[in-house]
């Protein structure tokens, strides 16, 4: 059986039946200074620095990993956290296979923002099935005191959002970072495997016309 699926990014074309390399696009979102850049660098480079600057614009790192015997390239995107930069950051949301939400367990406001980060992502990235799109929540800076958001509270929030997986991490101490990203990769891959197309439209067709919707289910065959 040959099963071919497409996603809207040309970097995520996958031939599932084959052992072809898979590219997973992961977006890290969350308030300024919750540790997005640090988590990314800890996972990819196994390094932590107190001297990271506030992210301006966007950047990404890639890492080769093996998930369920599959060789996978993770492309992890890091964007600026301040709210006003989001109107431009959306350029990077498209084609995402997983969205990682991050808050700082010592800063309650960063937890309160999670809803708006999630909603904003779903609006801008427009995945086909928003309720099934894979999110993962990271409560970062667990090495710091005093803690203001309990595990229970975070987990409750996750349950209310269709059981988002939750990890408590410390980018500084490299605590749970590897496990968290492995889960992120698995969720992203599972999503790619199950969904024919995460997104509503094909980019090539969008360019031709806005009014005309492409066929909604014509992309799979068995």
């Amino acid at each position: 059986m040959i099963h071919v699926s497409f996603s809207s990014s040309k970097f995520t074309a996958v031939a599932m039946a084959s052992r072809k390399k898979v590219l997973l696009k992961v977006i890290i979102l969350g308030d300024s200074s919750v540790g997005k850049t640090s988590l990314m660098n800890q996972y990819v480079n196994r390094k932590f620095s107190n001297q990271y600057k506030a992210t301006i614009g966007a950047d990404f790192l890639t890492k080769e990993v093996t998930v369920d015997d599959r060789s996978v390239t993770m492309q992890i995107w890091d964007t600026a956290g301040q709210e006003r930069f989001q109107s431009l950051g959306v350029a990077f949301y498209r084609g995402a296979d997983c969205c990682v939400l991050v808050f700082d367990v010592t800063a309650p406001n960063t937890f309160k923002s999670l809803d708006s980060w999630r909603d904003e992502f779903l609006v801008q990235a427009s995945p086909r099935e928003p309720e099934n799109f894979p999110f993962v929540l990271l409560g970062n800076k667990v090495d710091l005191e005093p803690r203001s958001i309990s595990s229970k509270r975070a987990q409750q929030w996750c349950q209310s959002k269709n059981n988002i997986p939750y990890f408590e991490t410390s980018a500084k101490e490299a605590l749970n970072v590897e496990q968290a990203f492995l889960a992120i990769a698995k969720n992203a891959l599972a999503q790619q495997n199950s969904a024919v197309d995460l997104y509503n439209e094909f980019p090539d067709q969008i360019k031709l016309t806005y009014a005309q919707k492409p066929p909604s289910s014509g992309s799979s065959c068995c």
Partner: protein, 639 residues
């Protein structure tokens, strides 16, 4: 005009003080950027020269260590048409002397404040800047001494025809062939008219030809097209050998429609001597444009930055006296501390009830602790300079609450505070910088979107291939340049480079939005790597981000200046690009794309045509057609 006082061998036909030697041959490098006197001289053998001599700057050693050394530079301003010969005239060894025979053309620019002499072969011989008044009198005098012809393509360029030049003969011969004009003076007059009043002159020429055809002495039949052909050929051939565009040391780029890119090596930085030299006895700087131009060309010596930046960032007005500055500083000091007191005295309850304020405060704390911590000045725990950085940003929130604090601002403040080392001075300089860049931090990011769109417009003009490549690779929104533009390359450059770079951009030379030409300079440099590797959206962004720490400031400034002149001198220059660069818009007149100097204004006025068009600033244009394109590309990219 020619009446001169007698001297030994030299007659000074014209003298003008306050002329800065802007560029010259290597042997005069020590005098470049010095102020001096420009003269037209005639020697006893009849040879005429344009001579420039530097003013000897004498510093009184007794007062050298004071804050303000008194420097005696311009003794008095002289501009004479009769030769008042200075007593030291016999010692002319230091003079930059250029024989009339070597000058093939000269170009007037910057509203007649800049004069460049060309030898018609390679580099310009030299360029003078007229700090007091302009070069009109000198050029007026020059025109009485030599025959000059305005260039047809560049009306700021005046050609001095060489009598022995074969091209000159060719034109004479053309007129002779036609047998229209009996003497060459008439031919030259006719040709000059062609430059200035082409329509009238053409009809005049045709009238002559009509005379010739119907009533001519030899009843020779001449086709009018032949006449045009001969005239045009002569003029074109003549000009192709003399325009400034034919000079050496070009960088070849593969855009056929633009003039070749010229090289603009960086000049020497503004030094203390020059800086003090442009101030009058009370410490006023009258000619701020000249200073800015020098900074644009070569930057500022580091030890002088702290002082000059206050002017560039509009803290000190250029024309204020030393006493006025002291008063201003005291007043600004009080103003700063009263604003600082406003937030310092806010109670916790007030803060809790003032969410917007609290958010800004939190964001500043977060960002200050991660701003340039690798630089010694900000390194280490509990570094007091971080507190100052924090306090300035907090006070700025009180100064401009609407803008408040946005990420990136701490990057803009950091080098300023490091340089100034004074909280109050750094604050007011930062205010000046923010006034230039505030639209970068709009809540809706309109300012940034507009800049990215404008960058695309300019790039599409100078390198359509590259712009089309970005369009077809999901990168037409130019987002990969976001970081460059938001903090003016602060993240890409070392602190020292950043300082040299910013001060050049602050001058406002040579045009509006010069920073977008910087972007174009880098992008066109990277073009081959991007296109040959067929980079897509992600790879382009990665490649551009990885240029961090790789950029050579001198090179990008040089290249961007080259691009500016390519654009300015391009015959296809569009009004959209003119607007973006602050160049005058020309209504339906694509032939002439140069600014109007007082010389041409009088000609224009006599012809009843309109005078210089209104200068439009890009600020007036909120939505350009490309803005729409940009929105479209946003939509298509984000869906």
């Amino acid at each position: 005009m020619s009446e001169t006082s007698e001297s030994d061998e030299v007659r000074e036909l014209f003298v003008q003080d306050g002329v800065l030697l802007f560029s010259a041959a290597a042997s005069f490098i020590n005098f470049v950027k010095s102020v001096g006197t420009l003269m037209i001289t005639e020697y006893s053998d009849g040879t005429k020269f344009i001579e420039w001599k530097p003013i000897d700057v004498t510093v009184d050693s007794d007062i050298q260590d004071q804050e303000w050394a008194v420097v005696n530079t311009v003794e008095k301003r002289i501009r004479t048409l009769s030769g008042t010969v200075p007593p030291e005239h016999k010692n002319r060894s230091k003079y930059l002397r250029i024989s009339f025979e070597d000058i093939k053309s000269f170009r007037i620019s910057d509203k007649s404040r800049r004069l460049t002499l060309n030898d018609g072969k390679s580099e310009p011989i030299c360029t003078y800047l007229f700090q007091h008044g302009n070069c009109d009198h000198l050029v007026g005098c020059l025109k009485t001494l030599v025959k000059t012809v305005a260039s047809r393509r560049d009306k700021h360029l005046f050609i001095i025809p060489d009598i022995k030049d074969p091209e000159h003969e060719k034109i004479d011969r053309s007129f002779a062939e036609l047998n229209v004009c009996t003497d060459s003076a008439y031919a030259w007059k006719l040709w000059n008219n062609f430059q200035e009043r082409p329509v009238v002159a053409t009809f005049e020429a045709f009238a002559k030809i009509t005379d010739l055809v119907y009533r001519g002495p030899e009843h020779r039949e001449i086709d009018a097209d032949d006449v045009k052909e001969i005239l045009n050929r002569s003029i074109t051939e003549y000009e192709s050998t003399t325009t400034t565009h034919s000079q050496g040391d070009y960088e070849v780029i593969d855009v056929p429609d633009l003039p070749k890119r010229r090289d603009f090596p960086r000049g020497k930085p503004l030094n203390l001597e020059q800086w003090l030299g442009v101030q009058d006895n009370e410490g006023r700087i009258e000619d701020s444009e000249c200073i800015k131009l020098m900074i644009f060309q070569g930057g500022i010596v580091p030890s002088l930055r702290e002082e000059v930046w206050k002017y560039l960032l509009d803290y000190y007005p250029w024309n204020c006296t030393k006493i006025e500055r002291q008063k201003l500083v005291s007043q600004k000091n009080d103003e700063y501390f009263s604003m600082k007191l406003q937030w310092k005295t806010m109670t916790k309850t007030q803060e809790d009830n003032f969410t917007d304020y609290k958010e800004r405060k939190t964001q500043i704390e977060k960002d200050v602790s991660r701003t340039d911590r690798t630089i010694d000045f900000y390194a280490g725990d509990n570094n007091p300079n971080l507190q100052i950085l924090n306090d300035i940003l907090m006070t700025y929130v009180m100064y401009n609450f609407d803008l408040g604090y946005v990420q990136g601002m701490s990057d803009l403040l950091s080098p300023i505070l490091h340089l100034m080392q004074s909280e109050v001075d750094a604050f007011w300089c930062f205010v000046g910088f923010m006034n230039k860049l505030s639209s970068n931090f709009d809540a809706d990011q309109v300012g940034m979107k507009e800049q990215l769109s404008n960058l695309h417009t300019i790039l599409a003009f100078i390198d359509p291939d590259l712009a089309a490549y970005f369009d077809s690779h999901d990168s037409g929104n130019m987002f990969f340049c976001f970081r460059w533009l938001l903090v003016w390359f602060k993240r890409e450059l070392s602190e020292e480079d950043c300082m040299s770079f910013w001060e050049v951009l602050w001058t406002g030379f040579p045009c509006d939005n010069f920073h977008l030409l910087i972007c174009c300079a880098i992008l066109t440099e990277e073009k081959r790597k991007l296109m040959d590797n067929n980079f897509g959206f992600t790879e382009i962004l990665k490649h551009i981000n990885e240029l961090c720490g790789q950029l050579n400031v001198e090179k990008i400034l040089n290249d961007a200046q080259g691009i500016f002149y390519q654009i300015k001198e391009s015959e296809q220059l569009t009004d959209v690009v003119r607007l973006l660069l602050g160049l005058p818009i020309l209504s339906n007149n694509s032939f002439d794309n140069h600014e109007t100097s007082p010389f041409e204004e009088s000609i224009d006025a006599s012809n009843g045509s309109s005078s210089s068009p209104p200068k439009c600033s890009v600020d007036n244009v909120r939505i350009s057609p490309d803005e729409v394109t940009f929105e479209k590309s946003l939509s298509s990219n984000f869906l």
